[in-house]
Amino acid sequence: MSVVLLEARNIGKRFGGVQALKDVSLTIRAQEIYGLIGPNGAGKTTFFNVMTGLYPRDGGEVLFGGVPLELDTPYLVAQAGIARTFQNIRLFGNMTAIENVMVGRHVRTHAGVFGAILRTPGQRAEEAAIRRRAEELLHYVGIPHRANDLARNLSYGDQRRLEIARALATEPQLLALDEPAAGMNATETVALRKLIEGLRADGLTVLLIEHDVKLVMGLCDRVAVLDYGEKIAEDVPGVVQKDPKVIEAYLGAGGD
């Protein structure tokens, strides 16, 4: 069971005067649902951004399947098998939903300019496969009926699902979700929870940032807590919940 999938070692990141991450190390095992929590501004999103190569880091490294990730080239991170969503949803607004998902297939497909211009049989077959897979994924996240709508015209909840579908299209081993339940109502949250559990059942590992404590505690196998850029706890939910440092951090930040 406990094969290590991702290991972050001593990640540091500073923005001017703000130490957003300080020597953060954590270990995610294959096929677990791993929660990353902490008060606002604790550095959770920054950890995602560093881990996926979008922000240059000040120090540390990330091993994925035992191999160091090339954090200077984000597309290689995606290629290695990490996909993510964004806290403030970043879709390709003027593309249709299905095209958004098809973009996610880019990293696993190969057709080039000449294939496209000449419409070679290989390119056509690949293109059809891309579309088929995208349709499947839209179905999987529950929005097949929105396939031909522009992403920017989708409802908030549907946009979140679409972002997950786009991430899944890259065939990740690790799916990193940044507050996927934010702004969702109770029914949508239940559906999301089902979705995440289904993903794990299909063999994926999930890294989840979430403020909804009930969701985190009910869903995650293990949880890490960040506070002011430092990891103050990492354990199963039941233990973390009772950790005085964690309680202090949340109360100190005005409760959550």
Partner: protein, 349 residues
């Protein structure tokens, strides 16, 4: 496609084929104007790949056009006494222009988009400075005087200068160029349309929409941008070669910033990224100034007895104004991409 559509398409094709014959009877000048317009539509569609699809603001596009034009001019004129056939130099010009694009793009494309704008702007000017000055100490470009007596096209022994009569219909030189340009235009339209609906085209649009998200979704943004930039430059080079052949004369004068702006205005006005929008925008901005030339001047003469506003100034005011007003009131252009898409999907279902 339905029969109705096929008939429509056939009619359009027929009209396009007959156009130069009709125009010749009005005046050969109009065929020339039309040819130039087609060339600019071609250029606009080349730039559309860069600006419209990939969202890279290239303000020196005309420089690649210049590269193509000069490659052609130098290798097919008495200047160096070289007279290579067009099927060698047209691709060569395209290659050179594409390489220039890649060399310029490589250092700048990993930076924020607006740097690219300024670098291309500067590059356009630099190319012109070199063209103007590379007559000393060795005469390469012949300086501001430009290069004259450039060979026209010559396909299968048929030259493009004299009038040929086929089936009793006289085809003038410009009319023949018209058909070649039409074929090239068709080519660039197909390239645009096919790329748009391909893995590469989607990657470009994704970069245009949100570069960071595109990176995170696994796109090698740097290579994709470079590809778009070099492809656009390549088309610029082809257009340049055709320009040389058609005009028989090139000088640095033809490659000033205004021309880059003109092509950009065509792309922006019509609707960035939408092939038909760009074509419409290019036609609008090609013909309107010509029409103005024939209407505004006489009207001014009549009213004031003299020219108050030079038609050239008016032209530039229209281009500049078109950019500003389009961005302000119709940022997606007169014929935006998304509406087009909706229509397409409605048709499908």
């Amino acid at each position: 496609m339905s029969t109705k559509k096929w008939i429509g398409l056939a009619l359009v094709a027929l009209a396009l084929l007959a156009l130069p014959l009709v125009l010749t009877s009005v005046g050969t000048a109009w065929v020339r104007i039309t040819n130039l317009a087609i060339l600019f539509i071609f250029l606009a569609l080349g730039l559309n790949i860069v600006v419209g699809m990939a969202g890279l603001l290239d303000l020196g596009y005309i420089a690649f056009f210049a590269v193509g034009a000069y490659v052609y001019a130098l290798l097919a004129s008495p200047h160096f006494g070289l007279h290579l056939p067009f099927w060698v130099i047209l691709p060569l010009g395209a290659l050179f222009a594409g390489m220039a694009g890649a060399i310029l793009g490589a250092p700048t494309l990993r930076l924020r988009g607006d740097y690219l704008a300024i670098v291309t702007l500067g590059f356009g000017e630099i190319v012109r400075i070199f063209l103007n000055n590379l007559s000393q100490p060795f005469n390469i470009t012949n300086g501001p005087k430009g290069i004259t007596r450039i060979d026209g096209l010559n396909i299968a022994g048929m030259d493009f200068v004299n009038t040929h009569t086929l089936f009793g219909i006289p085809f003038t030189g410009p009319a023949k160029y018209y058909y070649v340009l039409l074929i090239l235009l068709l080519l660039v339209i197909v390239v645009n349309l096919r790329l748009q609906k391909s893995r590469i085209g989607r990657a470009w649009v994704a970069i245009r929409e949100d570069e960071l998200a595109a990176k995170a979704a696994g796109i090698n943004t740097r290579n994709m941008k470079l590809l778009a930039f070099a492809m656009g430059a390549t088309f610029g080079g082809i257009a340049g070669g055709m320009f040389s052949a058609m005009q028989g004369f090139v000088s640095p004068e033809s490659f000033i910033l205004h021309e880059s702006i003109l092509v950009l205005a065509m792309v922006v006005l019509g609707g960035m990224g939408n092939v038909w929008g760009v074509i419409a925008g290019a036609m609008l901005l090609s013909f309107v100034p010509e029409l103005l030339r024939y209407t505004v001047d006489p009207v001014q003469q009549m009213l004031f007895g003299k020219l108050l506003i030079d038609p050239e100034v008016l032209r530039m005011l229209i281009f500049g104004g078109a950019l500003v007003l389009t961005m302000r009131f119709r940022p997606a252009g007169l014929w935006p991409e998304s509406r087009h898409k909706l229509e397409m999907s409605e048709n499908r279902s």
